[in-house]
Point group: C2
Chain length 324, copies 2
């Protein structure tokens, strides 16, 4: 048994089994049985140490997050996740690290019934690319390009905690006790909103998951839909920990608008669906909040403290913009 | 338009279009329409600079190879490739490098009608993970575990050129002129054997693609099938360039048995299929060669110069074995 195969067998041939997996890990490729009806949903995302997660990140958080960010993409399409492939690069075969990574990934996979069906394991700077495949009813898929003027703009959960957690770890913000733990936890263990995405399928006019910051991802949705948006800052949902921190930071109010890594869903609902679903979404888990309205003229506007101002591009995370 | 999105639009939203792509690059995930019958084939492989390809590798070779190694996996399952997702990590947004990478990947994709439907682009040490999805008729898929005693062991093309090319680039072997160009070309631009894989589907009892060296990958196939093998060294197909080099290197004969990166297909044929297909495979493009026989007792044996010896484990490429 060679090194790579031994490690793959030991750490990754666990997790949920599904009857639609004809052949899993261990051959040149996996063989899968897609649902007879429905479209296949496919996405892939890379996390690199020092870029997407700090070097001291616990290995189970790396495994969790690498899968979670892809499940979040499936959620943003209104889909159900079925299968995952994981390509892991690590500088050495450290059993404790690999075991922790596999635990984090497979624990999350188990919660959503996702089978790990393939992957790759090789040597190099720490990085992981996960691909997730899922399914969605053809007309129910949530795209970015369906928002219409007059739709309400909604977001799940609270925004900014993960960004504050990163600032804390990087020494750019001070926080202690439960508030610190909560924010670091939200950074390390994002919760993919698959159940909510499934509820919104066929109902929301557009959706995107928030990976790079509210205003940046909203800008993407608006450009794809050829619309604009007004966001009411006072409605943007924040945790008590973040609210307490913002109260003492003059520029802190920007954080929930620009910080990445929230992995909440941003979606638009036409007035009829707001009337039907709104109260239920507000009372749901996670609670959803209406934070603004889609407008016909392009551009993003922010209302705050009684003033409305155009939101200048910038802020949020982009890998290839200088200074981002 | 943000940096990452601008780059993705500019470089990657090209290549073949397919009617079974409901939604391609640009949303949270791709939406695909799998064939009504047939299994889905899914595989993922990472190439990291300095590990899988030397630092001076031309960018179009990186793009070509990143897709080719995955197409080779689909070929080894007897499948047809349909869609690809590419997750690229690069230290900076160098337009010449990115353009070359995209050209190499998309030129190969076009040749096999594969649509690039998604991906990721981020900053970090150069590395690329491609995922390929394809299809195969359920009972026709070529697995590793079907080889039976008495089956012939076959291989496509010639072995060892890519390994010699790597040795040349690393200064471990001297070669010049057309021989050097040929070997470096085989290292940089492996040819996925999709047409051959499709021909073997439902006929070969087992198959694997040769990424880590003949004897290592044969060992994997034999372990999966719970059989052994005898390989006749004199039958192992080598190019004239490699044969000329081997003639002057006392230990050179090991290279076609151990060198990686050939991406030829290794497959087993029962006697009936050998009688039906053998002559056609030998005369095909690439020509295929019978190099040995599957045996009931486990273990790999090598016949060379009239002697038969057990092949000791070792040789071939493994990421996590010391000294490999």
């Amino acid at each position: 048994m060679s090194g790579e195969e031994g490690l793959i067998e030991r750490w990754f041939q666990r997790g949920p089994r599904r009857p639609d997996v004809a052949l899993g890990i261990g051959d040149d490729a996996a063989l899968l049985q897609p649902a007879a009806s429905g479209l296949l949903v496919a996405c892939t995302d890379t996390l690199t140490e020092g870029v997407h997660f700090p070097e001291q990140t616990p290995p189970d958080a790396v495994g969790h997050k690498a899968l979670a960010v892809n499940l979040s993409d499936v959620a943003a399409m209104g889909g159900t996740a079925c299968w995952a492939l994981s390509a892991l690069t690590a500088p050495r075969a450290d059993p404790a690290w690999l075991g922790g990574f596999a635990d984090g990934l497979l624990t999350l996979a188990s919660r959503f019934g996702v089978a790990l069906v393939g992957g790759d394991l090789c040597r190099g700077p720490t990085s992981v690319t996960v691909t997730v495949l899922g399914t969605v009813a053809p007309r129910a898929a949530l795209r970015r390009d369906g928002a219409r003027p007059g739709d309400g703009i909604w977001v799940s959960g609270t925004l900014g905690d993960a960004g504050l957690g990163l600032a804390v770890l990087q020494g750019r913000a001070a926080l202690s006790g439960p508030a610190r733990r909560q924010c670091v936890r939200r950074l390390h263990y994002p919760e993919p909103r698959l159940t909510l995405g499934g509820r919104l399928a066929g109902r929301a006019t557009a959706a995107i998951d928030l990976s790079d910051g509210l205003m940046r991802d909203l800008g993407r949705l608006c450009r794809a839909s050829r619309v604009g948006a007004v966001i009411e800052w006072e409605r943007v949902p924040c945790s008590e920990a973040l609210a307490a921190w913002m109260a003492h930071e003059p520029e802190g109010w920007r954080l929930p608008l620009t910080a990445g890594d929230d992995y909440e869903l941003l979606f638009t609902l036409p007035p009829g669906e707001e009337a039907r679903l709104g109260a239920e979404l507000e009372a749901g888990e996670p609670p959803c909040t209406r934070i603004g309205t889609v407008t016909e003229p392009p551009g993003l506007w922010l209302e705050r403290g009684g003033y409305r101002e155009i939101w200048e591009a910038g802020g949020g995370f982009d890998h290839f913009v200088e200074g981002a």
